[in-house]
Symmetry: C2
Subunit: 127 residues, 2 copies
DNA sequence: CACAGTATGTGCAAGTTGTCAATAGTCAAA
DNA sequence: TTTGACTATTGACAACTTGCACATACTGTG
């Protein structure tokens, strides 16, 4: 019963892994509504994520004290909106996340350079 | 009930995400035993993974036709060992994986450069 | 034989992610 | 004034992934 990783359920597997740091980064620029954040995710290649996933991530981050939220006073076309604001703790989390991202990038670099090096030597043959 | 992402159960969360391409890369150098692969993972920063995870990944990849396996004839100190060998399909999978890794790296780069750029401008303040 | 080390595999609990659908407000056309 | 479209947020559940504990089995040593 092999797991079917290749099916790539839903739209994105990689995207969600970077959802949290991206949200933190967006909020680092200033408070924002969930819906706005959802739209701006596209700028970082995380477009097309299911809204539920994004809202859930925001609530989770609130649970950890990384962000706070309150209902917006202003009237808009639609139901009341929640505004999220980064906390000091969230700011630290962002810093930790960037370290994590840098490590991840080093890992990828090592992998890719090993791959390309071996490709040049072996002419792309697998033995 | 916030999920506790920060607890980082076990040794590694990031590591498993790069397990498959790393195994494919190692096998690209030639056939190998699971146990050997397990040990060599450390070279790519994936050390300390639970053996079960690695063996399971290998069996899964076999299920997808990326690798084949057979029992080693040679006697060694221990039970018979399984030898894994990359298939042509696995070779293609590796190529696809590297594309995926390159995209991921671009994504990380975008995120990190946005972070650092904003840090320089804003002097590290979050609003 | 008991035990340590090598080598692989199974099962399940716990956690994560995707999808669907519910809710709820505003606006505009028919 | 009902219908539909768009804005916003949330809850519940199924499907999937991962970690851990343990099972198995073979070899060599005291």
């Amino acid at each position: 019963m092999p797991r079917r990783r290749w099916r790539w359920r839903g739209c994105s597997r990689r995207a969600v892994r970077f959802l949290e740091p991206t949200l933190l980064l967006l909020l680092h620029h200033g408070p924002a509504h969930g819906y706005t954040l959802l739209e701006r995710l596209g700028e970082f290649g995380l477009g097309g994520l299911n809204p539920s996933v994004v809202y859930r991530a925001l609530r989770d981050m609130e649970g950890r004290g990384w962000v706070t939220s309150f209902w917006d006073d202003e009237q808009t076309q639609g139901p009341p909106r929640r505004v999220y604001r980064l906390t000091a703790l969230g700011n630290e989390a962002l810093a930790l996340w960037t370290q994590d991202l840098e490590e991840t990038r080093r890992l990828i670099d090592r992998l890719l350079s090993a791959y390309h090096r071996h490709m040049e030597e072996g002419e792309g043959e697998h033995h």
